[in-house]
């Protein structure tokens, strides 16, 4: 993060955060426009977003960003005032420009190289939207001024004629306010005071025009002031004082020889005031000098601007709710809090363990206190997690860009539909999901969807649809990427896998097993390497990154209808409700939310399907049975004697499995401690934790454990059940 002691660095950091919010509003607004919104506030929001980015960027001297935003904004302004009706091509360009603007913001933030070529290309195309008379080169009537700024607050000495410091000059200033001057909140007294600050002044008021009391109109100014000012200041500096009232008063500034002080419009800095040039327009107040830097006087002498640039529509509709009150906190501080809560949970576990061992009565004060302590710990933990939770919307918005770019690259028409954008997920998870999701979306566009002509032949809609969904389901976050394309060509997948030696040529694989071949390292089905998703590397990488988040990815594909990839992730990366169990002298933790029932095996409950595959009778049906000890390599022989304890678990696809364990210790919250990269990834092991007694236990991912064993599912199981029943 920024240096906390540098206020500018802090504002700069906050500017980039604001930019992200503005980019989000921009994307939303463009999408609404694209969906045909006629609401005037929509284009106003779009315009304001770009406008605010420009404003902030100017303050930090980010020239490239200002340049792009300024011209983008000019075109949006035309849309806003109704002189440009964007067609679908223009909308596409607006989206591209928004994407590029977001790139520029990021590049400025990270101080990486800016893609000026793309800026130029897009700006040329944006300018073209303004049409011939819109004036390609006249697009920038006033270049927006860029200026880095410092917060040094000692006022710069405007007197550039310091060299002649001792040469005071006598000026006569005649100043007569008009009625308008008062209507704008200007105050003659202030002007006179400012004037007096420049040097020695004699102020005289001329009442000559003052009518008798009966004729006096109370709102009409009648008086004028004549100020004799002896000052070292140059004439432009005197004029500066009257900048805001230019056109609202009569003003004459006369130099030492009784002549009007020469105007110095171009280079006031180099014009010594003492030897005035012959005045060209002695009678008129001299034209105002070039306004210094960025203070622009409100002159009414400026030529009226062309009709086209209309003033913005009044935006009085309460369309946008006032922003929620928000506190921005450094992520590091939250991380620290999360870690502390983790420690608290461990501590609480230790405390409960020692109280347990002390053999206290469950109704004792200590035990009651402990219970309260546990409840509070949980509340604190939930609240802390909520701080880290963010809606997936920003992530999904990034994906809409990926769809635009990738569909353009392979020349397919693709529509992105998003659902559940408000679903909240841990911030870290969101960040680490971006890459895998990008890859999956590209795959869906490139490999999943058919070419446009092919779709028409098949009687499908011209545009393919990619659907991105987020939802909370049974204590996990499910994110799905679905396409309505051709589905996985399983025959080809199996052929390729066989050709590459990944499976034996005569392997008998279920549909789901074939689909899962896609996740094998180095697998690629693309006949031609497209420039988009590359060589098909990726799905294995995608799987690995999802697993590193404690998540899982599954495929569901239907020929001709499309393919759905489902990512299932834990809600948080920090704490888990776990069931602590014993298996072959080891202590393991299973996520509590997958356990639906615990059983004790009866004498006839276990049946063998085929060697190595067992099922257990459960409520009139059969469920595949696995021995955790065997699966994890703790023991070689299956332990399914009557009386053995079995956990019945449910997997995300709704299928069930039974796991043999040796004993249940407890149900409790555990702090998830990641196994760092120095450990080889063992299938089925998600993470580790520290228990109350200081012992380290592994946290299992049951679905992952089972998938390593060739889980028996669906039809397979039904056939087997029939076989057993017949016997």
């Amino acid at each position: 993060m920024s240096d906390q002691n540098d206020p500018m660095a802090e504002i700069r950091a906050s500017f980039f955060i604001e930019c992200e919010e503005l980019m989000e509003a921009l994307q939303d607004g463009l999408q609404e426009l694209d969906d045909g919104s006629e609401e005037p506030e929509t284009i106003n929001v779009v315009f304001r977003a770009v406008h605010s980015i420009k404003g902030g960027a100017g303050a930090f001297g980010l020239e490239a960003l200002v340049r792009f935003a300024h011209r983008y904004e000019t075109v949006l302004d035309e849309v806003r005032n109704g002189s440009l009706q964007p067609d679908s091509e223009a909308m596409k360009l607006f989206f591209l420009a928004a994407d590029h603007l977001s790139d520029l913001v990021r590049a400025c933030r990270d101080e990486t190289e800016l893609d000026e070529a793309t800026s130029d290309e897009l700006l040329t195309r944006l300018d073209a939207l303004l049409g011939e008379d819109g004036g390609s080169e006249e697009v920038e009537p006033e270049e927006f001024e860029v200026q880095g700024l410092s917060l040094a607050l000692d006022l710069p000495d405007l007197d550039v004629d310091d060299t002649e410091a001792n040469d005071s000059t006598l000026y006569t200033v005649r100043f007569k306010p008009e009625q308008e001057l008062f209507a704008t909140g200007n105050e003659p007294l202030m002007l006179l005071r400012n004037l007096c600050d420049l040097g020695e002044a004699t102020v005289r008021c001329n009442f000559d025009d003052l009518p008798s009391l009966t004729d006096l109109a109370p709102e009409t100014p009648y008086v004028e002031w004549i100020i004799e000012l002896k000052t070292e200041a140059a004439e432009p500096e005197i004029r500066d004082i009257f900048e805001f009232v230019d056109g609202l008063c009569e003003l004459e500034i006369t130099g030492p020889q009784g002549e009007a002080a020469a105007p110095a419009p171009d280079a006031p800095a180099e014009e010594p005031p003492a030897p005035p040039e012959p005045a060209a327009e002695a009678a008129d107040p001299a034209p105002a000098p070039e306004p210094p830097a960025n203070v622009v006087p409100m002159g009414n002498k400026e030529p009226p601007a062309p009709e086209t640039a209309k003033e913005p529509e009044a935006e009085k509709k309460p369309a946008t709710p006032a922003a929620k009150s928000v506190v921005r906190v450094d992520l590091e501080r939250i991380e620290r809090l999360v870690n502390l809560v983790g420690e608290l949970v461990i501590n609480q576990a230790m405390l409960s363990q020692s109280l347990d061992e002390a053999g206290l009565s469950p109704h004792s004060d200590a035990m009651n206190g402990l219970e309260e302590f546990q409840r509070l710990t949980r509340d604190i933990q939930d609240s802390v997690m909520m701080i880290r939770a963010q809606p997936v919307k920003s992530l999904f918005q990034r994906m809409s860009r990926i769809v635009r770019e990738s569909s353009a690259a392979v020349e397919k028409e693709v529509r992105l539909v998003t659902e559940g954008e408000a679903t909240e997920v841990d911030k870290t998870v969101i960040e680490r999901l971006a890459d895998p999701l990008t890859h999956m979306i590209r795959n869906a566009v490139d490999h999943g969807l058919e070419a446009t002509e092919k779709r028409e032949e098949l009687g499908k809609s011209r545009a393919g649809t990619v659907t991105l969904t987020a939802a909370h389901r049974s204590g996990r976050v499910i994110i799905e990427v679905a396409d309505d394309g051709a589905g996985i060509n399983r025959k080809r997948v199996q052929e390729i896998a066989a050709n590459k030696g990944l499976i034996s040529p005569d392997a008998q694989l279920s549909d789901s097993e074939i689909d899962n071949l896609l996740f094998l390292p180095g697998f690629s089905t693309a006949k031609q390497v497209s420039n988009l998703s590359g060589r098909g590397v990726g799905m294995d990488v995608v799987k690995t990154s999802i697993q590193s988040l404690g998540g899982r990815i599954t495929i569901n594909s239907e020929p001709g209808k499309g393919t759905t990839f489902s990512i299932s992730l834990p809600l948080t990366l920090a704490v888990l409700d776990g069931m602590v169990v014993n298996v072959a002298e080891e202590t393991l933790v299973l996520p509590l939310n997958v356990v639906v029932e615990t059983l004790s095996l009866g004498p006839d409950d276990v049946q063998m399907l085929r060697p190595g595959n067992y099922v257990v009778r459960w409520r009139g049906g059969f469920v595949p049975l696995y021995d955790l000890g065997v699966m994890l390599g703790y023991r070689s022989h299956r332990k399914t004697d009557p009386g053995s304890i079995v956990l019945l678990i449910v997997l995300e696809d709704g299928s069930r499995a039974a796991l043999v364990i040796d004993g249940i210790q407890d149900q409790r919250q555990v702090v998830i401690k990641g196994l760092d990269d120095s450990f080889y990834r063992a299938p089925g092991i998600a993470a580790a934790t520290i228990l109350g007694d200081g012992q380290i236990a592994l946290i299992l991912d049951p679905a992952d454990v089972i998938s390593g064993m060739g889980h028996i599912r669906g039809t397979d199981l039904m056939l087997s059940e029939r076989k057993i029943a017949n016997e």
Binding site: E18, V45, R48, L151, G185, F244, V295, K316
Partner: protein, 121 residues
């Protein structure tokens, strides 16, 4: 006596910058996020000067200036318009609405301070 200033801008960055520019110079700075919010904050505040942006949601700068001038006690309160737009007719419109002065963003903090001192003392 420190000058009391109300600054109205929908951009958080701009509000931060105004605050950072004025507070060290001894101003008592009050902030609002748009015109409607500005009118709310103005109630009972009696600022010595007001700074406002033009492009804002809910109520823009023109509407805000109008509304401020409609209140008898603020008919003479100096209002500086602070905006990225420097098109002459926008300035004219702000002046018609009753703005006292005009400062173009990005602003130099020293200039902002100076301009405020010039209009508000």
């Amino acid at each position: 006596m420190s000058l009391k200033v109300l600054a109205v801008d929908d951009s958080r960055t701009m509000r931060d910058m105004i605050r950072m520019a004025l507070m060290p110079a001894g101003f008592d700075v009050h902030l609002a996020e748009d015109g409607v919010h500005g009118i709310e904050v103005l109630d009972g505040l009696e600022p010595d000067a007001i700074i406002t942006d033009i492009n804002m949601p809910r109520m823009d700068g023109f509407g805000f200036i109008d509304a401020v001038r409609d209140q008898a006690e603020h008919r003479a309160t100096p209002i500086l318009v602070l905006t990225t737009e420097s098109a002459p007719e926008l300035k004219m419109r702000a002046r018609e609405a009753g703005a006292t002065g005009w400062i173009v963003k990005p602003f130099d903090p020293a200039k902002l301070v100076k301009a405020l001192q010039m209009v508000a003392g």
